[in-house]
Amino acid sequence: MSNIQQLHDFTTQVRRDILRMVHAVNSGHPGGSLGCAEFLVCLYQELMERKEGFDMNGIGEDIFFLSNGHISPVFYSVLARSGYFPVSELATFRKLNSRLQGHPTTHEGLPGIRMASGSLGQGLSVAIGAAEAKKLNKDNKLVYILTGDGELQEGQNWEAIMYASAKKVDNLIATVDYNGQQIDGSTNDVLSLGNLRAKFEAFDWDVLEIKEGNNIEAILAGMQEAKAKTGKGKPVAVLLYTEMGNGVDFMMHTHAWHGKAPNDAQLESGLAQNPATLGDY
């Protein structure tokens, strides 16, 4: 059990990792990664019931899927700092012969990854499959899945959303990174998601919103509420209102840093805003 300050410190270090990783290779996706830092830290450090080590089948433990694979920097940082692989390996991100591919993959055998993602819209189906397998195995642990909001423009999601409620996949918590941004601009400008809550509810999901998606206490409270909603015949959706680029002032309130790395001066500024807590890799 971590306290709030520990989770905050952990998150600050994750932010440093994200900035340093994308800066080192001048590529990658810092915006969404920074926006989901608190959420993934809470998930892996507090919310999920995880076993020691990594087993692909994940029987008897909660498991997580990242559908919006482009936010791999935050995923890799949290996995490494949660003990799945050496923190020093973060230095290989996006480099030749690395297990830390640009988008997450099982292909290189990186512990903690159960599914390749990057081509959007596929993760929810996979998570549903894993949840169905847990039911067959009489495994009462949960399946968590994070998707982007723009990603919901992919039609496969709506096949999956329809399926999960019709088949009562109630051991599943799907969180939407609701930052309202995508590559070409705001989701409202590109292709409006409309009333997302009403859409999930119309598909008969149990929906809750975490309005402060970068606030650790709000995330913990909201996700505990989400956990309490599982096992009641409905899949659970969480609309997590996040700020893309959160924690680095010049990366916030814009979609510009979706897939762009900071230069040397910008890195320095970003790191100054997030002092080292656990030690850099």
Binding site: A116, S119, G129, L136, E159, M162, A166
Partner: protein, 317 residues
């Protein structure tokens, strides 16, 4: 030449259904997923006997492939079933990322492949699926020739770890392979020994190749007939051994000439033992409505086409 007896014509998809029925009884990790085609895929018995392990996904093939991939996490062995067109082309990226690249133990089982789907026409008659699937790294690609072989292949796939594509069809065709013949993935079956020409056939064209070999024998031509049920990994050794003897090849498949068995054989030959080859395959076109027999005749996918191709290829030696 060796005689093969049709022990009673059946559809290959029923072989798949029978294989699933047996797997349901013998392997509790096997699960079946279907996209609104239970009857067509012969899933009825599996569904009745194991309702908890049968998943009706609805008309949502992309979701089906993703769910199947997810079920492997937890140790399940998912067999997905729909028509070949909707099993491959429609869901290529889902198979590519969530199954093949993720190395998931999913068996993609596809009925109604090729022209012999018949009257439904070109929207449903995929002729590109072997090519699509064999291009995916790590994907095993199997195209079976009759009921017995399809049943055996289905059962064998449950013990094979890794992504696989199993292709079969709709029409009733001769059942001639032994019911007890072991199915060894990646191993060609030498059906008839010959010295003048090698016929390498897959799927529904295997029986036609045997009929062609008989017709050739009557003309004094000795044809070797090889059944390639596994297009990937290809049994290159069997192919090269035969061609070393005969010096020429005819490949026969219910698929586009581009991307199918013929091209895999041609690649093997060009790298190891260049030899003349003729392709009995669809000549880079879509299909159309008609009875299976009419279509196979019109598109040149029958024993007569194989005979003509053999005679032609022998002149090129």
């Amino acid at each position: 030449m060796k005689k093969y007896e049709n022990t009673g014509s059946k559809d290959t998809r029923s072989g798949f259904g029978a294989g699933m029925t047996e797997l349901g009884q013998t392997n509790e990790n096997v699960v079946a997923l279907c996209a609104d085609l239970i009857g067509s895929l012969k899933f009825d018995d599996f569904k009745k006997n194991h309702p908890e392990r049968f998943f009706q996904i609805g008309i949502a093939e992309a979701n089906m492939i993703g769910i199947a991939a997810g079920m492997t996490i937890g140790g399940k062995i998912p067999f997905t079933g729909t028509f070949a067109n909707f099993s491959t082309g429609r869901v290529y990226d889902q198979i590519r990322q969530s199954v093949a690249y993720s190395d998931k133990n999913v068996k993609i089982c596809a009925s109604h492949a090729g022209l012999t789907l018949g009257e439904d026409g070109a929207t449903h008659q995929i002729l590109e699926d072997i090519g699509l699937m064999k291009m995916l790294p790590g994907m095993t690609v199997i195209n079976t020739c009759d009921y017995n072989q399809t049943k055996a292949a289905t059962i064998a796939l449950a013990d094979h770890h890794g992504p696989a594509y199993l292709r079969f069809g709709r029409p009733v065709v001769p059942n001639f392979t032994p019911a007890d013949e072991p199915f060894i993935i990646g191993k060609a079956i030498l059906l008839n020994e010959g010295t003048d020409v090698t016929i390498i056939a897959t799927g529904h064209l295997v029986w036609e190749a045997l009929v062609a070999a008989e017709a050739l024998e009557a003309k004094g031509i000795s044809a070797e007939v090889i059944n390639i049920h596994t297009i990937k990994p290809l049994d290159e050794e069997a192919i090269l051994k035969s061609v070393a003897k005969t010096g020429c090849v005819v490949t026969a498949e219910e698929h586009n000439m581009l991307g199918g068995l013929g091209e895999s054989v041609a690649r093997t030959l060009s790298l190891n033992h260049p030899a003349p080859q003729e392709f009995v395959a669809v000549q880079d076109s879509f299909g159309e409505s008609g009875t299976p027999e009419q279509l196979m005749e019109k598109y040149g996918l029958n024993s007569a086409s194989i005979v003509a191709a053999c005679e032609k290829v022998m002149t090129r030696k």
